[in-house]
């Protein structure tokens, strides 16, 4: 029986090793040949043409994910503050907490079509449409992570603040949230890392441009995930190469974000 368990561990490790080694095996030569061409040049507009360029997709991913973070994190933290600091135990907050968990299971492609109907249909392709879709996906994750962290803030901190005559909102803003900050940052970063790799919600809102577009609200943009999806089924080796290079870039990007999150998590562990 223990053998079966160890077999299951191997079965989990194997695909991870296979995927990671494929990405590095095929991606490194593509991405780091004539460094830093791959990371800054524009995407060839003809798929069969060999050569670098994922610059616009990197910028697009940063733009879309960054704006989504700016929307989802403040709202998610605020929502969690209500659930834990104001509405603890009441029926409304129980309902919201339950539905937030359900919302994490909404398929990302459904979120994409929702934003298509709500935004893209009226305002056209833009990076911001993608941000809205990602923000909707991140919101329940940020709420859940923040609430867990608020639970860890010792109650006597709040009481000490009240004893000094501080109002509840001031106590939350100047005592509770700073105390929970490292945990909130790490939880949010993990949500950001997940969002940065999403493809389905961006397909209907962002478009697939091949040139740099630094504007958040105007014109079609692109993202690494969109480029991987588009190039993966291409029969041209040049396009497949670019897909592997983009995959390596995306994985490195999410890895860096996750690593920063881990550093913050380690900091909380040390503090306690």
């Amino acid at each position: 029986m223990t053998g079966l368990m160890i077999a299951s561990v191997v079965l989990v490790a194997l695909p991870l090793i296979a995927v990671v080694s494929a990405i590095f095996g095929r991606g490194v030569t593509v991405a780091f040949q004539n460094f830093p061409d791959f990371f800054i040049k524009e995407i060839p507009s003809v798929a069969r043409r060999a050569g670098p360029g994922m610059g616009p997709a990197i910028l697009g991913t940063l733009l879309v994910t960054g704006a989504a973070t700016l929307i989802a994190v403040p709202l998610g933290v605020l929502g969690a503050v209500y659930l834990h600091e104001y509405g603890r135990g009441n029926r409304f907050s129980r309902l919201v907490r339950f539905m937030a968990t359900v919302m994490t299971g909404v398929p990302s492609i459904v979120m994409g079509l929702f934003i298509y109907v709500l935004w893209t249909l009226h305002f056209g392709y833009s990076a911001f449409g993608g941000s809205l879709a990602l923000a909707c996906l991140m919101l329940p994750v940020v709420i859940g992570a923040t609430e867990q962290m608020l639970k860890l803030v010792p109650h006597h901190l709040r009481e000490a603040s009240y004893a000094l005559g501080t109002s509840k909102s001031r106590t939350i803003l100047t005592v509770v949230l700073p105390a929970a900050l490292p945990g909130i940052v790490s939880g949010s970063l993990l949500a950001v890392a997940r969002a940065a790799g999403e493809t389905a919600p961006l397909l209907f809102a962002v478009g697939a441009a091949t040139e740099y577009n630094p504007h958040l609200f105007e014109e079609a943009n692109t993202a690494l995930s969109i480029q991987i999806f588009g190039n993966a089924t291409s029969s041209f080796v040049a396009a497949q190469d670019r897909a592997w290079g983009a995959a390596l870039t995306l994985v490195l990007l999410t890895f860096v974000i996750t690593l920063v999150a881990r550093i913050f998590t380690a900091r909380i562990a040390r503090r306690r």
């Binding site: 989990v12 929502g79 968990t101 359900v102 909404v106 398929p107 990302s108 999806f229």
Partner: protein, 289 residues
């Protein structure tokens, strides 16, 4: 002084309402999703009626949209994924909670976290260019099921682990004290206690597998109208059809694709509602004892 306090109470109240508003956003978004996409799907139901769900001829050129084969494909790939992922995840969770010393447990948590962190489009890329070409699977239901299994193993493992960890130590020690081996103890104390929560964890995995789009879209093969039990046949699933056909779709075709999203949304919401309720009840039971 009075003025000052009035101002402060006002600011306090405003903050409270802002926070309540942010929390209410969750309910608002869920409601809006249903309303907006349902309204956009009406044209295809006007055209097809309930035939949308009961027929399997999907021919945009003839304005025929029968989604039955895609509904079948979604269920079939999700079931293949569960058949692979459930035993592996359960074995992994039991290993981490009952057997592994802390020094091994921690790297295993990292391992599942890393697996969960790989973007689905990257799994899809690997699936279409490596797995389907070099392992003789082709683009098929089975390839999609394997990729989906890899993607849902982390969530089923971590939820199962949490549920199993709520087993009261007294139950486990009692079983061991009566002379049970580790395996008898797991069968007599751990599994009966965790059964509800494990079912919930598996259902959450099912919800994820059904909604997973990009990886499935890349490896499933995009065959139209296939209702088959053969795992090696190329097929299609609802999210894969949406992702693959959206680019070339005209108005009615788009409406049909949105109707697929509505169907998917309703099914996953029902599965998730049930799963979340089961998991939360099982966790509370664990904390209570």
């Amino acid at each position: 002084m009075h003025d000052l306090r009035g101002h402060r109470a006002y600011a306090d109240g405003a903050f409270r309402w802002a926070a309540a508003g942010a929390a209410a956003l969750v309910l608002l978004i869920l409601g809006l999703i249903f309303i907006t996409i349902t309204s956009r799907s009406l044209p295809v139901f006007h055209q097809m009626g309930l035939g949308f769900f009961t027929t399997s001829r999907w021919s945009p050129a003839d304005a025929l949209f029968g989604a039955l084969a895609f509904i079948w494909g979604t269920a079939f790939t999700a079931l293949i994924a569960l058949a692979i992922a459930v035993p592996v995840s359960l074995g992994m969770a039991l290993f981490m909670t009952q057997v592994a010393p802390p020094a091994i447990k921690k790297p295993l948590v990292y391992l599942t976290d890393l697996l969960a962190g790989v973007p689905s489009v990257v799994f899809g890329l690997w699936g279409v260019l490596v797995l389907s070409q070099h392992f003789g699977l082709g683009r098929s239901f089975l390839t999609a099921g394997v990729i989906l299994a890899i993607m849902i193993i982390p969530i089923i493992t971590s939820l199962s682990r949490e549920v199993i960890e709520t087993t009261p130590p007294g139950d486990k020690e009692g079983a061991l004290a009566l002379g049970a081996t580790r395996w008898e103890m797991i069968g007599a104390a751990v599994l009966p206690h965790s059964a509800g929560g494990l079912v919930g964890a598996v259902m959450l995995g099912l919800g994820r597998a059904m909604g997973e789009t990009i990886a499935a879209a890349l490896v499933i093969g995009s065959a139209l109208g296939q209702i088959t039990l053969s795992p090696l046949a190329p097929g299609n699933s609802m999210p894969a059809v949406i992702a693959n056909e959206w680019g070339e779709a005209d108005a009615l075709h788009k409406s049909a694709l949105i109707a697929l999203a509505v169907t998917l949304f309703v099914i996953t919401i029902i599965v998730n509602l049930a799963a979340t309720a089961i998991v939360q009840r099982s966790m509370r039971k664990g904390q209570g004892s």
